[in-house]
Amino acid sequence: MGEGVVASEPQIIISEGLGSCVVVALYDTGLRIGGMAHILLPYAYNEKKLGSWKDEKPGISSQIRFMYADSAISSILKEMRRRGVSVQRIVAKMAGGARMFSDYEDSYTSIGERNITGIKYILEWEKIPLIGRDTGGSHGRSVEFYLESGRFVVKAIGMPDKEI
C-alpha cells in the first residue's frame, strides 16, 4: 500500500489486494518506460496544507509520496521526464477504487470513488489520456503491468483476468 516505482522493459510491476485503493500506471510506448503507484487517497497537498500540486512545490516526504494521487503522479512524471520520456507520449491506465462494504461507505464518503475522481482530474490537468480503466464495483483486484508491451492485466477472485 502507498508504494510507487518507475521502471523500464522488460520489468513487470505488480500490485495486489486493491480494495478502495487505486493503482495508476503511466507508460511511454516509445521508450517502454513506465511508472505505477498504489494510491490510498487523492490529494496530499490539501491534507498537508501545502497549497496545490499544480504549483509543483516540493515538500511531500518520500515516505508518503506515493500514498496520494497528486504527489505520486507528479513524482512518476518527474522521474519519467528525467529518463528522457516525452510527456506527449505518455498514456495512463487505472484499476481499483471499489466499494467493498456498501453498508459502511456511501457514494459521498467512499474513498474508492474519491480516488477515482481525483486521479481522473489530475490526469486531465496534466493532459495525459486515460486509455484504460477497471474501477468501482465491490470486488478486490490485483494488477500486473508489463513494461515490455504496456499490457495491463487486472485479476479478481472468481473472475477471468481482464486486460485493459
Binding site: L40, L41, M100, Y104, R141
Partner: protein, 212 residues
C-alpha cells in the same frame, strides 16, 4: 516490530493478558456455536504500523473472510475479524454437521461468520471495558469474502493512516472433539480522535496493576 513505539513491554504484557481473558470468554461462547468443547491458546497481541499490517498477516491477495464492525463510544474506529478462506470452510463444515436439519452448502456462511465476528468483537471489547474502563460498542457485523488487503484497505486508510497504529490479536482455538484448529485474527483500528484515550487507558490500567 516497534511495539515500544506506542506501548512499553509491561503495557504490552498487560494488554496481552486482557486479550487472553477475552479469548477465554470467546471460547465459552464458541462452544455454544460449535456444540463441542473449545480450548484456547493465549493470543498473540501485536501493535503494528498501519501500512505494514497486511504484510505481517499474509500475502495481500490471499482469499480471506472478513467481518467488519465500527466501534462507537469511548473508542471509535473499526474492528475486523478475519480468517483465511480455508479456515472458514473447515469451521462451516463443523457447524453444518452439528445442525439437525438439512441445509445447502454455503447457505449459513454469512450468518455464522457475522455471528462469530459479533461474538469475538463483543468479548474483546468487553475485556477492554473490564480492565481499562472503556465503554465501547460495536455495530452490526458485515461479511466480505475477497483478497485480504482489499477487505482491510478502506478502513486502514480511513482510520489508521494518521494514527499508524493497528492492534492485531491472533487467536487459536481447538475444537477438541472435532480435532479442528480454528484460527482467526482480530484487527482493531482506533480512530485518530480516540487514539490517545486508548493508549492512556492501557497505560493507566498497567500502572494500577504495577502499583499493587
Amino acid at each position: 516490530m516497534k511495539n515500544e513505539q506506542f506501548l512499553t513491554e509491561e503495557q504490552m504484557d498487560y494488554l496481552t493478558e486482557m486479550m487472553n481473558i477475552g479469548a477465554g470468554n470467546a471460547a465459552t461462547a464458541l462452544e455454544q456455536l460449535f456444540k463441542c468443547s473449545v480450548d484456547v491458546k493465549v493470543p498473540e497481541v501485536r501493535v503494528v504500523p498501519s501500512t505494514k499490517a497486511v504484510a505481517i498477516l499474509d500475502s495481500p491477495s490471499v482469499p480471506y473472510a472478513g467481518v467488519r464492525m465500527d466501534m462507537l463510544g469511548d473508542i471509535t474506529g473499526v474492528i475486523f475479524l478475519i480468517m483465511p478462506l480455508e479456515q472458514k470452510k473447515q469451521l462451516m463444515e463443523v457447524i453444518e454437521k452439528s445442525i439437525p436439519f438439512k441445509i445447502k452448502p454455503g447457505e449459513l456462511d454469512i450468518t455464522v461468520l457475522e455471528e462469530v465476528g459479533n461474538i469475538a468483537a463483543g468479548v474483546y471489547l468487553m475485556a477492554l471495558h473490564d480492565f481499562c474502563k472503556l465503554n465501547i460498542v460495536h455495530t452490526v457485523p458485515v461479511l466480505k469474502v475477497d483478497m485480504l488487503q482489499s477487505i482491510l484497505d478502506e478502513a486502514v486508510v480511513r482510520e489508521s493512516i494518521e494514527t499508524q497504529l493497528i492492534i492485531i490479536i491472533k487467536n487459536e482455538f481447538i475444537l477438541s472433539k472435532k480435532k479442528v484448529k480454528a484460527a482467526f485474527i482480530i484487527a482493531l483500528m482506533p480512530s485518530k480522535e480516540k487514539l490517545n484515550t486508548l493508549l492512556h487507558s492501557i497505560k493507566g490500567a498497567t500502572d494500577a496493576i504495577m502499583r499493587r
